[in-house]
Symmetry: C2
Subunit: 350 residues, 2 copies
């Protein structure tokens, strides 16, 4: 008999070559390949429990029961996973047993760190496991992608490449001791969600050129990672981030994600690098700046950021491993059993 | 006998569809067509005097004798004009009589208002006139372009289109009562010159797409001008400016012209427009923001700008006319004669 309650963890990831725009919005198939690494010091822990006594799914996020669109998005993802089992197994998607989902982040939500990536990765792994599925890493990654595009990159560990429907590891976490030092910026303006941003990407006259150029940036970035070549990494990572924001700014309507402090940090990062410190920047769909640096530069980068006005918090993380199952219980009582983190062996990868 | 001393005026111009990048750097032939209007309340007044007693050209700018690269650029332009006369007239380019050039701006230099445009336009007109040439407007515009690309747009009056080698008026100054309200921004970082920016444009993976898309933006902007349609103008002017900066930011090396205040103004302009005020922004190769508005919105736009921290000055201008000769003297004595502003009749246009 398979577990009735499973807890999984996953890490958010930071893209070095960005995903921006879909070639299929419903399937969240990306317009271009991307590269990222997992942020191993930030974590989402998600428990999924099958409970026959529930009349509807329950979703709790950081201690708060959620409803509305965010709730529907989670329920839709549970349906999707159950439906995928349905074809070969006994679970009935139409009148399936309801689930209790409890998710906790070790990092603040809504500050522009992609909690949807780690959230949907952990949710996918916990749900598949509680349903007794034994998906390959590629299958897990594909399923997670349907919940949130970049979640597919939070399934494999370390440095990750997302090509088309799923993501794979290109180098393990210990390959290169990079740090992501995230400047959290006060921002008075409402931010457009990344889902909306993806949908608008194709309205920019620059998006096609960005996509066409991806293979060049991807290969430069992949080689910089494989060779641990920071100077090469910095050049391509900044150009890639600026190209994504170029597309967002020139979309119709235009989206400017940056706050004034964002620009001050870009300038400070470049100055610091010119003085010999291995640091570079990237920016996701919001005003925060991710300062990527080598471990030995950590102190200088943090000092620089804390000196900037407009920086309200600084969060750091090293490179993290894959999503993993950390606990399972097999009965209706709370006989939770700690397990060795679940790791998919390379042979399971497609 | 023709004049030995001629004074001409010209206005800087603000591009609504930007020139960025050259298909021929030496000839300053642009990568794409552009549209602008002259800033009639800002003015460069340039006097060129042929003086046989001089052993070398003398150039005075805002009361200061200049040397170095700026001096060489002016002398090279004088040589070029003299050489163009040489082919058909009596002046010898090799051992030509030297000239005294005196130029005064009514606006501060080096704050990002394109004084090279009005400067080279006035210099070209004054020099041609003192040499007894009778160039058409198109010939003047072409000659001015060789000194500084956008100077070709400061030769004709009003709303101006630059296609390939020279610029023409598409609507006179009085066609539409637009204002340019320029926020001068304090900027601690050195700025890359626009000449360097143009040279780097082709290193951006986005420049080709920007050029290809120009005909669409140009036509939208031209129609918005012809119809005095502010909403249509705002959309295309902002997108065009952001596309130029997208190219600059993603050039190799990358150029970020904006300061933090720049971004705050972009955001404030959009908010003001959403509240019903006809205002839009554009940005040249520097941190200053040109807020383009209809005359009746002037007060609100200025109020908004003066409230922003980081704004150190606000300069305004309406739409201006063509470059014109305002004084000529025919002898070696100072018998300067005021003349009706020189205006090239439409039949002289190519």
């Amino acid at each position: 008999m398979h577990a009735r309650k499973v807890t999984a963890i996953a890490y958010p990831n930071i893209a070095l070559v960005k995903y921006w725009g879909n070639r299929d919005h419903t399937l969240r198939l990306p317009s271009n390949d991307s590269l990222s690494f997992n942020l191993g010091d930030l974590r989402t822990t998600t428990t999924v429990e099958i409970d026959p006594s529930l009349s509807h799914d329950e979703v709790t996020l950081d201690g708060r029961t959620i409803g509305g669109a965010a709730y529907e998005r989670v329920v839709h993802h549970l349906d999707r996973i159950v439906d995928s089992v349905c074809a070969t197994q006994e679970v009935n998607g139409r009148s399936r047993t309801r689930m209790r989902v409890t998710s906790i982040n070790t990092f603040p939500m809504g500050v522009g760190i992609a909690s949807s990536a780690s959230g949907f990765a952990a949710l996918t792994l916990a749900t598949c496991t509680v349903l007794g599925m034994k998906p390959s890493e590629a299958e897990l990654s594909s399923l997670a992608r349907l919940g949130s595009g970049s979640a597919c990159r939070s399934i494999p560990g370390g440095f990750v490449s997302w090509h088309d429907s799923f993501a794979i590891t290109i180098a393990p976490a210990q390959h290169w001791n990079l740090m992501d030092v995230i400047a959290i910026i006060s921002n008075e303006h409402k931010t457009v969600s990344s889902t909306e941003g993806h949908a608008l990407a194709e309205t920019s006259p620059l998006q096609a050129a960005r996509i066409t150029d991806t293979s060049r940036r991807y290969e430069l970035c992949r080689q910089a990672i494989m060779n641990c070549d920071f100077a090469a990494l910095a050049e391509v990572v900044e150009q890639d981030a600026l190209m994504m924001h170029a597309v967002a700014m020139t979309s119709q309507p235009s989206i400017i994600y940056w706050a004034s402090t964002t620009l001050n940090i870009l300038s400070a990062v470049r100055e610091l690098r010119e003085s010999g410190v291995p640091v570079t920047f990237t920016i996701d769909a919001g005003p925060n700046v991710h300062c990527i640096c080598e471990q030995h530069a950590l102190k200088q980068v943090k000092q620089m950021l804390w000196q900037m006005s407009g920086v309200i918090d600084v969060i750091q993380s090293g490179v993290g491993g894959p999503a993993s199952v950390i606990a399972q219980s097999h009965g209706s009582h709370d006989d939770t059993q700690q397990v060795t983190p679940f790791h998919i062996s390379p042979k399971d990868r497609v």
